[in-house]
Amino acid sequence: MSRQCALLLPRVCAALADPRQPGSDDTCLEKMLDWFRELREGEPTEKLLQDNPCLTEFFSSVLALPEPNPSILSFTLRLAGILAAAEDCFQHLQQRQLLVRLFGEGGPLSSAAWEDASVRSGWVEGVHSMVQHQPALHFICSGGGIDVVFTLQGDPSLFVASAASRLLVHMLTLSVGPEVTLPLNAKDCDWPACAQMIVKHIEDSLQSSSASHIKQSLKLLTSLFGSCQATWTKVLWLGVAKQVESFLTEDSVQAQHMLPDLLLNMARSPVFRDTEGSFWALVTSALEHLTPLQAGPLAVGILKLFQCPQDVRIQALTVLLQPMDCILRAASQPLEYAGLVDESVSDPSTVENLLSSKSSCASLLCQTLAHLEELLSVAYLRVDLPSATLVRSVVIILQFCNGLLIPASPLGSKISQILIGCFRVQRSALDALAALSQWKRCDTVVESLFDVLLAYLESPNTSPTVLKKSFQAMAKWLVHLLHKSFKKQRQTEKSLQDVLLVLQKRLCSPCWEVRDSSLEFLTKLIACLRDQDEFRQSLLSSEVPKLTENLLEDPESYVRASAVTAVGHLAFLTYFFFPESPVAGNQYNKENTVAKLQEILSTDPEVFPRRAVMSIFTMWLQQCCTGELEETERFVSRVIQITERDLDWEVRLGCLEMVQIFTIYMFCRFGLPECPYTPVPSAVTSSISWCEPLQIFCRVKLFGFLFRSLCDCDKPVGQKACDILLALKSHFCQSSMIDSQGSGDLAAGRGIPWLQRTLRQGSLAENFSTGGGNGVDFEDPESMMLALRTIDFEELHSDLNKCSDHVEKSPQSLLEDILAAVGTIEENEADCY
């Protein structure tokens, strides 16, 4: 603890313990606890207590208050717990009877303050922090504290109940210790005293008739098996296994919904995973007995396991596939359909009932689809997913949802009635469909898939969120198929034409969300397919590019921004990569586009389009699309000129990023270290002086912009500018170059000391003129060379990094704030946003 803090702490403690003072801001108390946690890591805690007797005095004073403020009392309990985590400190506080008075029966436990959830929460958290060693464990177990924790498991506050459960897990783990080997028989097991109490509590609760006690214990076991993988957990399990198993079939307790998490945590633990069949038999039984909605999460968890018996996996997969199987069956003639799952293994009637009920149909389908989507993203899945059939079933669900398919079968017609217009299921199905595009062997169902997606994209009833997902799914499938086998798939080509037609319509939608999603879709397609001739030709011969350009003037700024991005990508197709392209007629003129985007950058009142323009310009420069050297120079110069006074810091930052790329590009061009952005490294032309880049930088007014940015009121801008200047310095100021250039003449260096001084003060700000008014010529290469050499950018860099925002995080500032708040008008605190 710093000296200043040590001086402030007694006054802060006195203020906090003073009942006349209004309660301190909760965030201050939280931050103080954070600080003490840090202190505890850094220095011996006993010394902390000895050096700061105000802390123990603070505990005593709060305990002496007849009606302490609950938030202060809660803070006190938590602080005491943090300090008592160290054994010596625990003893120190014990000797003064403080811990008994704080955590024992006569303390807040039995006072009126206990009614307040924050006090109970403080007590549990305090105990949790404290119980890091055996004496603390003994203190809680022998002093009746453990019974309080048992009770708090059922606390009306979710936070307290959950903290109590976590505390019991922690105490049990600490009590048994990691390395203890216990006999593999629960009855003969000689648990340590504290563990014995907790184990007995778990066993008793599970056998009780109280559903809430049973649930608390199941929760505790779940969290224990999730966090502790010691072998003794198996001994504990053996004692309760039968009882837990009985909950699978016992409807009266209604604890079934808690079993999947418990079983999954066990399945992930090597202690249970590797044992003989009994555990897996229980899992199998759970997959059978739980309702499909309950069994779903268990099944997906099982399928994601690396180690698991194959038959359990197959059963888990059956659980997940059954609703999809049901859908397929509902949509087909009886003899047509071979089935996704083996009906001898599972009875479809439960799923059929759930799917034909209005209240459960959507939930079951959404859950199943989400689980399938989750599985599709697992890299090492150990079962084969029937992806083609799955695509078919998802397509059928989508057809049900928008009335494209009304099957004759009673089940099918019932399901389609329930699903029609159901956005929830539509969203989940489209997500699953998008995920399925990555999967192999799906091509057979492509036709119906494109049909249904097109139907969604065309339908006026499709909601904007569903439309967005339809576009995403369509993009994934199109990209996947076009990349793979465009020529073979005439269907895909036709679909592409259809999609472009829909896109034309959707780009004119009155709903901005739809226009935006359409533009995002277009950008994605161009980014992925710009090398495909067929795609390029189809796109450029459609109305889409024209409509996209029109959207640069959209009233909604988000749409304008997306239009900027799309137009920026379109440029690759029209003139950057294919300037001789026959379809690229006069209407796609590079100068026009650049001028339009520059106009947006300088005049758009909203930030999103301007930021988008900066990203596009940077991307163009990165891909060397801005033309020859002179053209690029003019381009960069113009962008800097427009951007340097932009009101948005992200636009300025974007411009700095572009400048950074420009500098690298220049260095490569002139033979300095290799450039990641030049496709063909340019020949090193020794005849060109190394200082040519410097002259170019001066001509584009790059230095004025960089130095101005150093003092930007938004930190990231200053940091970026400093990074670039440091890089320039390292390029230009290599010793050989310095020697050859000498130290510069006096005229050039006149303003530099001013610049140096001003930068050091960190207050360049508004009066910083880059026009040369202060004797610094930012366009003079020699002056700039001198500035680069003289100014200590390293120091500036470390200053800028020291505090990236102005919120003082130091503990001293915190303590000062708490003290300063003493006696302020109460109204300030009551106020809010």
């Binding site: 801001d25 909760d26 965030t27 201050c28 939280e30 609950p70 307040d116 959830a117 009306p156 506050s157 979710l158 936070f159 959950s162 808690m258 999947p260 998490d261 999460p297 939930s363 989400a370 929830r424 969203r427 969120t465 967005k468 969300e513 935006d516 999603s517 988000y558 009142p605 909203e606 999103f608 009101l647 810091w649 009121c713 938004d714 990231p716 960190g762 700000a765 508004e766 200053d799 020291k802 505090c803 990236s804 925002d805 102005h806 919120v807 003082e808 995080k809 500032s813 915190l814 704030d817 300063a820 708040a821 302020t824 008008i825 109204e827 300030n828 009551a830 106020d831 809010c832 946003y833």
Partner: protein, 600 residues
């Protein structure tokens, strides 16, 4: 018994971040999704892991409703929808949907500006989140699904702020968000109809305060600004882009106009155009005066307030500058503050709450020597003023809203525990309703007693009222009939009507009983003895002896047969309908006593 459950994850006995979970008739709704500006780590967002222990959030929650654009009510939304994974519907009013992204962007900017802030939402996420939002109009009933519906009411407070009624069947909850019962310069007062919800969840920021007249505060504010400008000083007003800033702008604009003042007023970073664009766009959400005068003169087209350029800060002479952000913790407002702080002629007016750690908080608590970025000490010589313009209902306003809505229960959120306790007692005393104030994480359960309207057919009504006393509108009356529950409606009809409507045939249920009597005679003779006996006993009833030998008494049928094993015993099979149950049991007990000695 049907119940409504409410669990605040935030705003339970605090004013940190609003996030209240409501379960009503099997539907789960999240009200607001706010952030706490006082933290820079996970604590700034509500702990969403408590929403559901099992299953996916999107499956559990039916919708999220955002009351208004303040960050303590919507700041965690992109995190919740794009990072935690909620993919369901989000509702808010049109102005809130339009303005939310600006504030979220502002917040993101401040946050990512800080070093080491990762795990944070991006601009793209904000946009994706906003695209999921369904915008609602005032008083428009929106069907979330077939049963759950929501409706927005005007809340004042800030542009677009709304109270929401959530209704499932006949059960309903009203959530006020933040509201203001007195109109201010640009917004009207909150209003709700007498919707008599089962529960009213109301904010209680000023639970114990009766606020002084706003006019006094305004006068005070103008006086301070005027005095400073008159003596050649500069006034800095740190604000957030939208909300209070607009009210203060209107205030200064009219004052400047009236007093013919010349000192320039600036609004920084181009926000004024954007903000004012929204006020113009949503003019119907402003107060009556602004709406009325809109045609002649748009209040939001300021003559005196100009866009600020950072070079202006060094201009000599007086000026007033509105600059963001409002807590003086970064950006332009802090930069101007640093320039002007050293001059005692200048003044900074803080019009809102500042979190600990910010320069705003420090100067408000009286600190005058500030360490800036570890490099230099800034001595604050300028005057520092605090002016509360926050637009919340005071204790009177809260009581007024309760009177207006007539809820059956009240639950207080967004306030301090002590003050809530006081207001709770007041509400319970005055309105005789239960009032709750759960802490964060505590669940309050309210049992509802839904009254379900049932239609009755006129024929049945007439028939039923004809029986018994004359109908009395104030007293409940028992009705007999068949309840048909079909297509979400309940109807009470006569049994005949029900059979007809449902196409069902009537089945007669008969009770039967066997009575053994000792009689060695032939069966028909025993039957005759029974007939004679009954005829003698039941003089008022129609007793008949049918040709097949059976006897009837009203609907009761008696047949005599010989016992299969004992010819001396006869078995009397007695059967009767439900309507004649009394007579049937009387007859069996009579027959069980046996027949009188032979009379024939």
């Amino acid at each position: 018994m049907p119940e409504i459950k409410v669990t605040p994850l935030g705003a339970g006995q605090d004013v940190g971040r609003s996030c209240v979970l409501v379960s009503i008739a099997g539907r789960n709704v999240m009200l607001d999704c706010g952030m706490h500006m006082g933290y820079n780590d996970d604590r700034r967002f509500p702990d969403f892991s408590y929403i559901t222990q099992n299953g996916r959030l999107t499956d559990f929650l039916d919708c999220v409703i955002i009351s208004h654009f303040h960050l303590d009510h919507c700041g965690a939304l992109p995190y919740f929808s794009e990072m935690v994974g909620y993919d369901g519907p989000i509702y808010m009013t049109h102005p809130t949907k339009a303005i939310c992204p600006i504030l979220l962007e502002d917040y993101r900017k401040i946050t990512v500006d800080k070093k080491g802030e990762t795990n944070f939402f991006t601009s793209q996420m904000i946009k994706d989140c906003m695209k999921k939002v369904v915008a609602v109009h005032l008083h428009q009933t929106v069907q979330v699904d077939e049963e759950l519906e929501i409706k927005a009411y005007y809340a004042g407070h800030v542009l677009g702020a709304a109270m929401f009624q959530i209704k499932v069947g006949c059960e309903s909850v009203v959530y006020t968000g933040d509201y203001n019962m007195t109109p201010d310069r640009h917004l009207g007062a909150a209003w709700i109809d007498k919707c008599r919800p089962d529960l009213l969840i109301t904010e209680s920021t000023y639970a114990t305060t009766i606020r002084d007249s706003k006019r006094c505060r305004e006068r005070d504010f103008l006086k301070k600004v005027h005095e400073t400008v008159e003596r050649g000083g500069k006034v800095l007003i740190p604000v957030f882009a939208l909300g209070r800033a607009q009210e203060l702008c209107i205030l200064l604009e009219t004052f400047w106009e009236r007093m013919n003042l010349k000192a320039p007023i600036y609004f920084s970073t181009g926000l004024t155009e954007k903000a004012n664009h929204y006020y113009k766009l949503f003019i119907t959400w402003t107060n009556q005066k602004i709406r009325k005068t809109f045609v002649q003169r748009n209040m939001f087209e300021f003559k005196h307030i100009k866009a600020f350029d950072r070079a202006f800060a060094d201009n000599p002479g007086p000026m007033v500058v509105f600059a963001t952000p409002g807590m003086l913790h970064a950006g332009q407002s802090l930069q101007i503050f640093r320039k002007w702080a050293g001059n005692e002629k200048n003044m900074v007016i803080m019009p809102g709450y500042c979190v600990q750690g910010t320069v705003g908080h420090k100067i408000l608590s009286g600190q005058r020597k500030l360490e800036m970025e570890g490099r230099q000490i800034l001595e604050v010589k300028m005057q520092v003023e605090y002016m509360s313009f926050s637009a919340h209902a005071d204790a009177k306003g809260i009581m007024q809203l309760i009177r207006q809505a007539e809820p059956r229960n009240v639950l207080l959120v967004h306030g301090e525990a002590k003050k809530m306790e006081f207001l709770k007692q007041k509400i319970e005393q005055e309105f005789h309703v239960s009032c709750y104030m759960p802490a964060n994480g505590e669940t309050t359960t309210i049992f509802t007693n839904p009254s379900i309207p049932v239609d009755i057919s006129l024929g049945l009504l007439k028939r039923e009222t004809a029986i018994g006393l004359l109908p009395d509108a104030k007293k409940p009356k028992l009705m007999h009939g068949t309840l048909i529950m079909k297509d979400n409606s309940f109807r009470l009809v006569s049994p005949e009507q029900a059979l007809k409507e449902l196409g069902l045939a009537e089945h007669q249920l008969r009770f039967t009983c066997r009575v053994h009597i000792q009689d060695p005679r032939k069966e028909h003779e025993t039957a005759l003895r029974v007939y004679n006996h009954l005829k003698g006993v039941l003089k008022d009833y129609s007793v008949q002896h049918l040709p097949d030998g059976s006897i009837t008494v009203e609907s009761i049928l008696i047949q005599a047969t010989a016992h299969s094993e004992d010819q001396g015993t006869k078995v009397l099979l007695v059967s009767w309908t439900y309507q004649d149950e009394e007579l049937g049991s009387y007859l069996t007990s009579l027959l069980k006593k046996g027949l009188p000695p032979s009379t024939s």
